[in-house]
């Protein structure tokens, strides 16, 4: 191996890369938020909807969880203009990530709904809880307890998943690493720094989600 490491050419770009990390977090956050809404609607449909709607939700979930996110976004990015819908790369990636997240979050939230047992609600009714009190003291604590850990894990998986956006020209952490690579071709140095930043980012996200769960909801969640 006759290669001289040139970390100095790359370290100057670290603030630029850190800005990309913020975009990755932001993209994951928006995708997660939209995915939560989609997932809640689908989970509610699966629990209470008519049979045809339930079938449709099943098809959506199994299709989006069994195919790669990358190909889904390719399909949206190159396919939607044929249908007369024009999205820029950030929007296409966000739509793809949200739809993908929606499918996973449907399953996670459905499992949460299922964990509230009929008997618990009956017991609360016997104790004279009003409907609001029931939701406040029985349903919500239960949902939080069962859902917090899987949701937090999925958010971190999504942060890693946003690196796909680089392929479509969104300048998040991986995209910016590719940009720096195009400037000085110190590929090994750049991608090891980018990898290190992803590790730091997800460890920080894990730790903050753990502490947030502990102090806000008193849940000891095992986060990724």
């Amino acid at each position: 191996m006759n290669y001289t490491f040139q970390w100095g050419q790359v370290t100057g770009h670290i603030p630029y890369l850190a800005g990309g990390a913020m975009i990755a977090l932001q993209l994951a956050f928006f995708g997660f938020a939209i995915g939560m809404v989609v997932g809640a609607l689908c989970a509610a449909t699966k629990a209470y909807g008519p049979k045809a709607a339930r079938r449709l939700v099943d098809a959506y979930v199994s299709f989006f969880t069994n195919t790669p996110l990358l190909v889904q976004i390719f399909f949206l990015y190159y396919g939607l203009p044929d249908a007369g819908i024009f999205l820029d790369s950030y929007q296409a990636v966000l739509v793809g990530i949200s739809l993908n997240a929606g499918a996973y979050l449907t399953e996670i939230q459905r499992a949460g709904f299922m964990s509230v047992r009929r008997t618990e609600l009956d017991a609360a009714a016997t104790l004279g809880f009003s409907r609001l009190q029931m939701i406040r003291y029985v349903v919500v604590p239960h949902l939080l307890k069962t859902l917090y850990a899987p949701l937090a894990n999925h958010y971190i998986v999504m942060v890693l998943g946003t690196s796909i956006a680089a392929i479509f020209g969104v300048e998040e952490l991986t995209g910016r690493a590719l940009n720096v690579n195009a400037i000085n071709f110190r590929s090994f140095e750049i991608f090891s720094i980018a990898a290190g930043m992803y590790i730091t980012l997800t460890i920080a996200a894990s730790a903050s989600l753990y502490w947030f769960g502990l102090y806000a909801f008193r849940i000891k969640a095992k986060v990724f």
Binding site: S62, V71, G79, D82, A83, I167, F191, A195, Y198, I199
Partner: protein, 230 residues
Amino acid sequence: MFATLIAEAPRFFTYWNMVFLATAVGNTLVMAFAGCGLGLLFGLGLAVTRAERIVHVAPLRWLAILFVEVFRRIPVLVLLLFVFFTFQLLGFSLHALAVGTIAIVLRASSLFAENFRAGIESVHPNQWDAAEVMNLSPLQTLRLTVLPQAWPVILPPMTIGLVGMIKATSLASQISVLELTFAARQLNQRGFSALIAFGTILVIYFVISWGVARLGASVERRLVPQHRRA
């Protein structure tokens, strides 16, 4: 939208296009199966190395933890590029397919190690003590006592992990491995609409992943007794 699809279909589903796609499916499967097979092996190895009841050398355990924590927190795309450029730096010229497989193996072994670890830790410590009293060696204990009880915890996330690895191979298209996603991009660039090119491979991916999910479910039926299934 559907009119173009129907108009294009006879031009798209020709013999040579199908041969092209079949080659791509082959490469996807090679990466997925080699990656998952080795990943399962190394994953179990890492989980065993991490188990305090088996390995009594703390630095070895720390190394296993470090490996797992590093590789499961790097996105597959960055891992692929990292492996790709590391081999360039070392002066090897490796086939892109091999680079893709190595990246998948690294990722799979770190993810699967966590699944195995969760399973091993779900078995009560008394079981280890009892097996020790019966004069079983640590590895015998693992094989005969712990793993049979751990399958209900290991298998469901493992199936999801295997499907995840098949989906992760799509990223190898970025280092020019001729797998399904790369093939679809080529077909798209040759003038077929994205609808038909990417639509077709979405269906192929779905069939492969669905098959693996079914396989996982049947393994689960075989290894986990009825009353312990989730």
